[in-house]
Amino acid sequence: MKRILKLLARLYPLSWRTRYGAEYEALLEEASPRPRDAFDVFWGAIKMQMTAQRFARIVLPCTLVGGIAAFAISFARPALYRSQTLILVDTDDRHPIGNQLRGQVVDLLNQPFLASVIQQEDLYPSERSRTSLESVVLLMSKNIEIRKVQTSDGKSASALVLQFDYPDPHVAQRVDEMLASQFIAANLRAGAASATSEFLKGQLLIAKDPAIKTRIQSQLRQVETATSQLHRFRVLNVASLPKKPTGLSRTELGLIGLFAGFLSGTIAAAILDSHQRATN
């Protein structure tokens, strides 16, 4: 800890260290350090830097550059609106939402379906003019997320959230509705397996050859296992119309940029100070 405090003490301006450096180090050696002293020394260095001449020449410009860069990034980066659909899953403890969900997600994100949505809703017009439809489909799939909703006690999920991010909130809502419909339809198609099960049971009753009977029984077991793992999905909350964009706001991003610029300026000033001290 003492070593960390001594390192942090190097962040003080050179003029200050010339006057107080030796006695400050003596104090750091003598005192029993506490973890919060690290922040105290760091903050003390920042405050001293602000009163030093270098502050106006290095730290202030760095802070401004950081702030301006962050604002520029916030303008260049399109704001994305997130629409969400909450889907309730009727499930039992023996078969929590699991592997079969992945299959349905793959089904939802299949290229022909997404390509048809892109064309129908005229999504990503500028990207489509620049790149292939496959790349745009890939971009769209990155803006889709399906996640399980965990209960507060950490038990298995009983609901899913299907979300879609897009620069236009109304389009985000419409597309999210389409995705939710496709997701539920994919599960219903899988439900056709239960009809197969009924057919195989009928065949088992009329089959006479033991070898054929064994094969039918084996197929029936496989189909019944698949059928028992099916979930019934119900849309609990329809696709929401997002009011605010996702992620950091312009102000938040600007403040982060200002702070990052200030911090790098302070460190740069401290490095320049050390360099100057070494050459003197």
Binding site: E23, A26, D37, V41, M48
Partner: protein, 95 residues
């Protein structure tokens, strides 16, 4: 009452001290532990204002003394605080 400047001046009013001795003294009489950064921030400020001064020492541990102007400032601050304390106590008693 945890203004580091008043705490440092109060500590030096009891005799010359170096940084670590001030830190210990302040913890004893005020129950406040000043971090190294806060303590030296106050020392730097007070020395610039001429309210404390470094006294000769052959050691790395630099002792400081309170100056006449520092004593005057401390007296003014403590008198003002005393008035606030007395007024607060009177009001609490009458409430």
């Amino acid at each position: 009452m945890s203004d580091p400047s008043i705490l440092v001046l109060s500590s030096l009013a009891g005799g010359d001290k170096h940084g670590y001795a001030m830190m210990e003294d302040i913890e004893r009489f005020a129950g406040v532990r000043l971090g190294p950064g806060t303590l030296y921030g106050a020392i730097t400020r007070l020395e610039k204002l001429g309210w404390i001064a470094a006294v000769g020492s052959g050691d790395r541990r630099q002792p400081y003394t309170i100056t006449g102007a520092g004593r005057e400032h401390l007296e003014g601050q403590l008198a003002s605080l005393g008035r606030i304390v007395r007024a607060g106590q009177r009001r609490l008693e009458n409430a």
